[in-house]
């Protein structure tokens, strides 16, 4: 039982993610989380403003249910399958580089307090970072027609060249953000 409460190693987690993809494939669907963003836009009536959202979101209701499940899973994992703050044991070099950027909770928490503690929300800069980060995620994921699940897992599993291009893009963007922009932002 204790082993469940520890963080799960990559060689357990990776195959389980593949299992999620195969379960959805065997249900006749596909594994891709970001299309829920456009379903939710469509649900809220975005079809009146842009044709892109004029589709029957009810046909994608199954994916919204998977999404709801992912949230419940987060609740279950954080409350019943973790000990304390579930600190993430990142490498010593990573902790050091984060401390030089002013992140104090590196290696001791699941998410950095500086960005995700409720108190940090009073800081306008934090709000801009969270909203801006989300904006880039949503815009980019729909522009690229997929995110980590749809391209890096589903698409690459099906040996799709467009997914490889998208994943290379994910890394170009991520490397630019962390190596060039982080020193300017933090």
């Amino acid at each position: 039982m204790n082993i469940l409460l520890e963080p799960w190693p990559w060689y357990v987690s990776g195959p389980l993610i593949a299992l999620v993809m195969f379960l959805l494939i065997f249900m006749g669907k596909k594994f891709g989380m970001s299309s829920n963003l456009e379903s939710m836009c469509s649900m809220c009536g975005a079809g009146k403003r842009a044709d892109y959202f004029n589709f029957d979101w009810r046909a994608k209701r199954w994916n919204l249910i998977v999404m709801l499940g992912a949230a419940i899973g987060g609740f279950v994992a954080a409350h019943f399958l973790s000990v304390g703050a579930a600190p993430v044991d990142i490498s010593a070099e990573t902790v050091k580089s984060l401390e030089s950027l002013g992140f104090q909770s590196a290696g001791e928490a699941y998410l950095p307090d500086r960005l995700f503690a409720v108190e940090a929300l009073t800081e306008p800069k934090t709000l801009i970072i969270l909203l801006g980060g989300g904006l880039l995620i949503g815009f980019g994921a729909r522009y690229a027609a997929g995110c980590t699940s749809g391209h890096a897992i589903s698409g690459l599993s099906n040996l799709q060249l467009p997914s490889l291009i998208a994943v290379i893009g994910f890394f170009i963007g991520g490397l630019i953000m962390i190596h060039l922009l982080f020193p300017l932002i933090f």
């Binding site: 999620v20 006749g28 992912a70 899973g73 987060g74 954080a78 070099e93």
Partner: protein
């Protein structure tokens, strides 16, 4: 109803895996882009090893779905610019907010209220894409 419950359980399982694998941790994403740990590469690599093998098997052996239908795995539409530019924009956001669309929901469930702002941003971003789609290079 049975199918709905199946999707819900797959989602719950996915959420637990995202949280327990630490793929939903901002710290792991930062560490990955600094190439300072094998963890995230191990997760994606082992998922893909099984994923590629399984998808090939499904295609070659014409394996059927749970309900007995032939399984169709659609190819992605052809393109280059949208995948590259969209990918880069997504990567910038992924590294900054430290969460991709799956983990966003998982973290909200785990009780991180601030992630709701990331979700609001992502919805706004998806909406803006829909609005400006025709003006963007694809």
């Amino acid at each position: 109803m049975k199918r709905t419950l199946a999707y819900l359980f797959i989602g719950i399982f996915f959420g637990i895996v995202m949280y327990k694998s630490e793929a939903a941790s901002w710290f792991r994403i930062y560490e990955m882009f600094r190439f300072e740990s094998f963890h995230m590469y191990g997760i994606m690599g082992s998922a893909l090893l099984l994923g590629v093998t399984g998808v090939q098997l499904i295609k070659r052996k014409r394996i059927r779905s749970f309900s007995g239908e032939p399984i169709k795995i659609a190819s992605k539409d052809r393109g280059f610019k949208n995948y590259l530019f969209g990918g880069i924009i997504f990567g910038l956001g992924w590294a900054l907010a430290g969460a991709c669309p799956g983990p966003i929901y998982t973290l909200i469930g785990a009780g991180y209220v601030s992630i709701i702002i990331v979700l609001a941003g992502a919805l706004l971003g998806a909406f803006l894409y829909g609005l400006f789609k025709r003006k963007l290079p694809h």
